[in-house]
């Protein structure tokens, strides 16, 4: 499986990952190599085999519906790069000019 530079660009966009030209080249080559290695999975017969996504055997674990005190606003915001009047500042979703 060969990953083209265009595919790498597309994946980087999906992952919201800023990559340089050089990185796109490098990952195209390295990811292709890894995918080639991973291709050996196709030689394993998995007909009628159920997938394992979790090994704990737990399912829909519920907690009691009780309220607990949460962290103070100050502490929650202490690591934010931009904040205003007790809010996180994010990029605008719509371009309001």
């Amino acid at each position: 499986m060969r990953l083209t530079k265009d595919q790498v660009k597309h994946v980087a966009k999906l992952a919201n990952l800023p990559l340089s030209d050089k990185e796109e080249e490098l990952y195209s080559e390295q990811l292709s190599k890894i995918l080639e290695y991973v291709d050996q999975l196709n030689s394993v017969d998995t007909k009628d085999v159920e997938p394992t996504f979790n090994v704990s055997g737990q399912e829909n674990v519920m907690r009691k519906d009780e309220t607990e005190s949460s962290l103070p606003q100050e502490e929650v915001l202490q690591n934010a790069s931009k904040k205003e009047r007790g809010f996180f500042v994010t990029k605008g979703v719509f371009d309001n000019g």
Partner: protein, 450 residues
């Protein structure tokens, strides 16, 4: 007092009880040693002026309230958690103090300790070699006597492999044994927290402290682990020890192979019955792992948007980016069935291999790593070769079972570890085997000269 820092955790507790020295003297001795030795190793990213309690070192992917937790990444270089991981609260309740946060591969992704944004950790046995990874600093700090014990995390060997390469004890706990609350997530279906220690007895004690459900990790519903000394010291007479032929084939360094075989003979001489077993899907485990892990990584890493905490995504390091890219690709439209679902089915087969083997044997033993510590920089440009170093450790994570690395000798002056794998939630038996082996050999008395 010169020997204070060479004591194991268990010995330290006994000495404190007998008032042979004070907690202040203990912390001072470790801090002084860190000051003189850490610049050579880069095992610690940060140290704290700890004055009381029993000093421990915590891998910097485990959240510590009010103490910087960087995940060894530029992204979190200024991040200060507002809460403790459950394991931290449990340690604090038991009179443990944090003496520092240890270095590791960025976001725990790597097998050499070189992927840290803050420089590689060095192996105490040879400063030109890697300590293994990702819990590089946690293992190096134990080997160099820079703390009484440390915590690491293991997603594909990140506790066992550096423990092996640094000649110390490392325990990967069963999936669901220890709460992951507060551990910065890497691959959520595989991540586990466990101790790195100077002795097997110490690993038992730390597991007793940190295990058990907390209500914050839905996969952790287990009771607290307890193991009284007589059970640890029960011996291994009649115990069935499985040796998988797949773990001794091509790729295993002949000297490492010899040392591990001698260790297995030792178990036999202690009364264990050696049985050959087969784990036929082992050869596909790594391929499945390198789909499952990057997929889960790409999802977990999406939270780092630089808005609520941390810096922007342009600060993510090379290996982490590589895994995000691989995972995003594997999970993208049209590929999910071919990659993630396929890998999850192979995972079922790998897990099934162990279940079948454990019908016949009590534990499975083999090498931890196919080689001893390699040169710094040697494999960093070739990700696939680096991934192949995890070949004997990843299967345990796919199956969710516990694994222990115990020192079992030296090859050209570098440590070799014996891996002991057990049934899900049967830490007790692997610890018993590790203890019996450790007591019958003298490897733990060997210390690096730094």
């Amino acid at each position: 007092m010169a020997d204070l820092t060479s004591l194991t955790l268990t010995q330290t507790i006994k000495a404190l009880e007998k008032k042979e020295f004070s907690e202040l003297e203990l912390n001072k001795a470790y801090l002084e040693r860190i000051k003189s030795i850490n610049p050579k190793l880069n095992a610690y990213l940060e140290t704290l002026e700890s004055k009381k309690g029993i000093p421990t070192a915590i891998k910097d992917v485990i959240s510590t309230r009010g103490i910087k937790t960087t995940a060894a990444s530029k992204v979190l270089e200024n991040y200060i958690p507002s809460y403790n991981a459950t394991v931290i609260n449990r340690l604090l309740e038991n009179g443990i103090s944090i003496i520092g946060k240890t270095n590791h591969d960025e976001f725990a992704m790597g097998g050499s300790g070189e992927n840290s944004a803050f420089g590689p950790t060095k192996n105490p046995w040879d400063l030109t070699k890697v300590p293994g990874g990702s819990s590089a600093g946690s293992a190096a700090a134990i080997a160099a006597d820079l703390c009484t014990f440390s915590l690491g995390s293991d997603t594909g060997g990140s506790i066992r492999q550096p423990a092996s390469l640094c000649g110390v004890v490392g325990l990967k706990t069963s999936y669901g044994r220890v709460s992951r609350y507060g551990l910065i997530a890497m691959a959520s279906s595989l991540d586990s927290i466990g101790p790195v220690t100077k002795s097997v007895e110490d690993a038992v004690l730390v597991l007793e402290w940190i295990s058990g459900s907390d209500g914050y990790d839905s996969n952790c519903k287990s009771k607290k682990f307890t193991m009284q000394p007589p059970r640890l010291q029960a011996g291994i007479k009649g115990l069935k020890v499985g040796v998988p032929k797949e773990y001794f084939g091509e790729g295993l360094d002949p000297k490492v192979k010899k040392i591990v075989q001698v260790a297995i003979k030792k178990l036999e001489s202690l009364g264990a019955q050696i049985v050959e077993v087969s784990l036929p899907h082992s050869e596909y485990a790594l391929a499945a792992y390198y789909i499952i892990v990057p997929s889960e990584v790409s999802s977990n890493m999406a939270r780092f948007d630089g808005i609520r905490y941390g810096k922007g995504r342009e600060n993510i390091g090379a290996e982490v980016k590589r895994r995000i890219m691989l995972g995003t690709y594997a999970l993208s439209a049209g590929y999910w069935d071919d990659y993630y679902a396929k890998a999850a089915k192979v995972r079922t087969l790998v897990k099934g291999d162990f279940e079948k083997a454990f019908e016949k044997v009590d534990v499975i033993v083999g090498p931890v790593s196919p080689t001893t510590a390699w040169n710094l920089g040697e494999k960093i440009d070739d990700p696939l070769t680096m991934y192949l170093q995890d070949i004997y450790t990843i299967s345990a994570n796919l199956a969710g079972i516990p694994g222990l690395s115990v020192p079992c000798g030296f090859s050209d002056g570098l440590p070799v570890g014996l891996q002991i794998l057990g049934k899900h939630f049967d830490e007790e038996t692997i610890l018993k085997v590790g203890y019996a082996y450790e007591q019958a050999t003298n490897w733990k008395k060997e210390k690096p000269k730094i």
